[in-house]
Symmetry: C2
Subunit: 203 residues, 2 copies
DNA sequence: GGTGGCTGCAAGTAAGTACTTGCATTGGGG
DNA sequence: CCCCAATGCAAGTACTTACTTGCAGCCACC
C-alpha cells in the first residue's frame, strides 16, 4: 500500500519536532503540551518523538535550549562607540527585538518553577549574559563621566524598562502611540534620569 | 463509625476551597491544578467542590476573582498631596506591596490566553484601574508644572518600572542591594528623568 | 541486490483526570 | 425531637495522556 512517506533526514525530522514543540509549548505551557499535538504539528508520527528524544520533557527541554541561543549581542556591544544616546538606542532596539522573539519563552520561564526543568536555567541564561554586557557598557560610561550610579543598577533598570515595555504592549496596550514612540520616550527618561551633565528637555 | 467531620458553615467551606485553589493555581497553572489536590489541600471532599462550584474552571475563576479585589489604592491616591518625591515613594511602596501579593496571579495571567477564562480580564482589571489612578496623579503634576510629558506615558513608565523590579528581584536577583535600596534608586532615576525643574544629583 | 537505519501505522497499556452517584453521618433550626 | 441541608465516603464512568510494541515499507549505502 501507499505509505505516503516523504523521506527526510533524521536531522530534519528532529528539527521539525523542535520547531513544532517550541510553538506549542510557548502557547500552552509544559503540561498543556501533548505529544500528540507535537506529532501532528510536526507532520511526524508520535512514536518517532520518543524514538528521538525518549520523553516529552526531554523534547521540551531540547526545544527551549535550541531557541535560546545567546549570541549576536556580544558583537553589537563591541561595535558601540558613538554618542551615548545613539548607543542606548541601538542597545534598546536590539533588546526589544530579542525580547519580542522569545517573549513567549520568557513568560513560560516565569511560570516554570520545578527544579527538574531546564527551562528556567536555559531561558534566564541569556538575560543574565545580556545584563553583563549592558553592565559593562554602563561601567565604561560611568568611568568616562557620562553617567552616574552603579553600573549594575543602571543595566538592571535599563533592561527592566525594556522588558516592561514589551510585556506592557502585549497586555496593557496603549493606543495613540506606536512602538517606536514608546521606546523613544523610555530612552529619553532614562537618559535624563541618569546622565551626569544633563541638558534640559524641551520646556 | 467515626466520620471525623468537623462541621463548618458553607461559607467557610467555600472560602477554604478558594484559598487552596488560589495557592495551587498560582503555582501550577490551570491545567496543572487538579480537583483532587484542591480537595486535599482544603481539607474537603472532592465531591464537595462540584457541589459548590459545578466545575473546576468555575472554581479557579472564582478564586482569581476573589483575590484580585481592586480597592485600597483609590483612597491612597486621594490622600496624596505632599511633595512630589514623597508622593511617588508612597505610590511606589503601595504598588510594590500589591504586586508582591498577587505576583503569582499576575504571572499566571500572562500565560492564560484562552478567551474562555476569566483570569485574563480579572487579573488585568486591577492594573488597568491602577494605571488610571496613577495617570490622574501624573496629570495633576504635569498641570502644576512639576512634571513634563504625557501623563499616560508617565504612569506607564512608572508602573512598568515597579513591575520589572518585582519580577527582576525574583528571577534575576541582585546581591549587594536590598529591596528598599532598589526602589529608592528607581524613584530617583524616574524623578530625575521626568521632573521639569531638575536638581542635579549627587555629583 | 541485499541490508540496516529511519519512519509510519495501529493497537495497546497504565495512569491520571474531571465529574457523578448513592448512601451514611452529622449538627442545627423548626 | 426530628428533619434537612451540608458534608464525607467509596465506587464508578468516560476521557485524555505519556509511552510502548510489533510490523511493514522506504531509502541509502555497500
Amino acid at each position: 500500500m501507499l505509505h505516503e512517506i516523504q523521506p527526510r533526514s533524521p536531522e530534519e525530522t528532529r528539527n521539525r519536532i523542535l520547531v513544532a514543540t517550541r510553538a506549542i509549548f510557548a502557547k500552552k505551557g509544559r503540561r498543556g503540551t501533548t505529544t500528540r499535538e507535537i506529532a501532528e504539528s510536526a507532520g511526524v508520527n508520535e512514536a518517532t518523538l520518543f524514538r528521538h528524544f525518549g520523553s516529552k520533557d526531554a523534547i521540551i527541554d531540547a526545544a527551549v535550549e535550541r531557541f535560546c541561543a545567546t549570541g549576536e549581542l556580544q558583537e553589537l556591544a563591541a561595535g558601540l562607540s558613538g554618542n551615548l544616546e545613539a548607543d542606548l538606542r541601538r542597545l534598546a532596539n536590539a533588546l526589544v527585538e530579542r525580547m519580542e522573539q522569545v517573549q513567549d519563552l520568557i513568560i513560560m520561564s516565569l511560570v516554570e518553577q520545578e527544579p527538574h526543568s531546564a527551562v528556567s536555567s536555559a531561558a534566564w541564561r541569556a538575560p543574565g549574559a545580556i545584563r553583563h554586557i549592558v553592565g559593562d557598557y554602563m561601567a565604561k560610561r560611568v568611568e568616562s563621566g557620562d553617567l552616574q550610579g552603579d553600573p549594575l543598577l543602571l543595566a538592571r533598570f535599563f533592561m527592566g524598562m525594556i522588558f516592561a515595555d514589551v510585556i506592557g504592549r502585549k497586555k496593557l496596550p496603549v493606543t495613540d502611540y506606536n512602538k517606536d514612540d514608546l521606546i523613544t520616550f523610555q530612552i529619553d527618561v532614562f537618559l535624563n534620569g541618569v546622565r551626569k551633565n544633563k541638558v534640559h528637555g524641551n520646556a
